[in-house]
Symmetry: C2
Subunit: 279 residues, 2 copies
């Protein structure tokens, strides 16, 4: 697989960063991740906007403009010749002489094989557990996953697929996915604050404006456990039903009608975007 590092297309498995990069020394870096379909990048503008916004919030200035990044992505897709893949953009704190002060950022683009949610996995749904945690600077897509990576052992022990963070009685997000809840009264709600604003989440909120009532608001732990349907959203998972939270089975323990309807609407939106996309 080919990657792009600073100014060059290189073999990804031979590319690296020197030891004094601030991502290695202090976990200081931002990234973003989107999918390609039929060699086209899905919702590219949204991901690029978020990537540049994350960089600005951490004061990491991209050495490439949005237009230049777009050209690099196009060339990378051409060289790797994978029609469906994930593409990761990264901007690190740079080679810091003192290992603490940010320097000129390193800019990296890599391409990855991905596995989408299978129909079988969708039909089965997943079990998640909850854990008290609040990410720092939550609107920034930083590489700060200390808690998410550390909790993988607990997930194995509890045979859960993911962990949902909560904070003062409200739930927020998964380490790499957003949360949606269909309440007992039929309202579709996704947490509004202290989260990373996911692109799949954004698209569903936009879809909701047309065909179903969908809002960003507070979601309490109680609302979650009494919900009729729960699902998570992410770039690689798209929409994935959650059928158990800790020891609580959600409603009848099966993916619900609203989740299925939203999932179909999202797939249609994806197809539409890809058909109309031009470089």
């Amino acid at each position: 697989m080919i990657a792009f590092v600073n100014d060059l297309f290189v073999q990804a498995d031979k590319a690296g960063l020197r030891l004094n990069d601030l991502s290695i020394q202090r976990g200081y870096a931002v990234f973003d991740f989107f999918r390609t379909k039929n060699y086209k990048p899905l919702f590219l503008e949204d991901y690029l906007d978020r990537f540049f916004a994350s960089g600005e919030l951490l004061r990491l200035k991209s050495p490439k403009s949005k237009a230049e990044v777009k050209d690099i992505i196009r060339e990378l897709i051409r060289q790797n010749d994978l029609p469906e893949a994930g593409i990761k953009l990264m901007l690190t704190g740079g080679y810091s002489p003192d290992g603490y002060t940010p320097a000129e950022p390193n800019f990296i683009v890599t391409q990855h094989e991905i596995q989408l949610t299978s129909p079988e996995k969708f039909a089965a749904g997943i079990k998640v557990i909850t854990y008290p945690h609040q990410r720092e600077l939550p609107t920034v897509k930083s590489t700060d996953y200390l808690m998410g990576v550390w909790l993988q052992e607990k997930l194995r022990q509890e045979q859960a697929a993911d962990v949902l963070y909560h904070n003062n009685g409200t739930v927020t997000e998964f380490p790499r996915s957003n949360l949606f809840v269909v309440t007992a009264s039929g309202r579709v709600v996704t947490p509004s604050e202290n989260i990373l604003p996911g692109i799949t989440r954004k698209k569903i909120l936009e879809l909701g404006n047309g065909s179903f009532d969908c809002v960003a608001d507070t979601v309490t732990t109680d609302e979650l456990k009494n919900a009729r349907e729960v699902f998570m959203t992410s770039t690689t998972k798209r929409i994935l039903p959650v059928v158990q939270v800790d020891d609580t089975i959600i409603w009848d323990g099966k993916p619900g009608a609203v989740t299925t309807k939203i999932s179909q609407a999202f797939l249609d939106l994806e197809d539409n975007y890809i058909q109309q996309f031009t470089w």
Copy 2:
């Protein structure tokens, strides 16, 4: 400068990690940092113990035993031929095929030039600001410095030398240093919980047992601002007086007698250790 990476002594400025190391991808790594004096590593056993404890807490198993790490340090000091320097040990999440699951850790030792606190800087003391923050997994010396690095811009704006974290009315630690307060009643206190247990802090607590009353306990924001003396401790700073916290001048705005006495006792302890040290 020579560094040690996994199994080899290499040129530090040419050494690096491949892009899929979990330190780069997810900020998942532990480290430790100690000083050498006259080619000897200060309080080596304490630092090695903490390094191995951090690794265990993040489930990163060092590929080298403590005895092997000690031999590598000795050889690195010999090759770089710097009598007084800093040495950094690091253990990362390793080359992760999926960029999220921990793999076999990468083990790194690097040596660095350091600047100790000068008598002039000690005499002047420093201004610090406070900021609400609690590090995750605080007893682990992880590379999670997102907040500390991000706050550097605020330090520049407020012309402060460092930031002290607080949490629910109690103060905890600086990003890279511990806090000590001499209260109005003459008690020497360092925060007991939600901190990284510093080695300099540990040595001062041990010194305190003999010659002055020194304890680990809760320190409230009020106690801090009404204190007679405040100082910070770290491996490179040793003991550094804090004479201003936000807009509050501490007592008469000068380093106090207790701080000076503890600083001298610590320097004596250092000399003693180095004189007696044998490999």
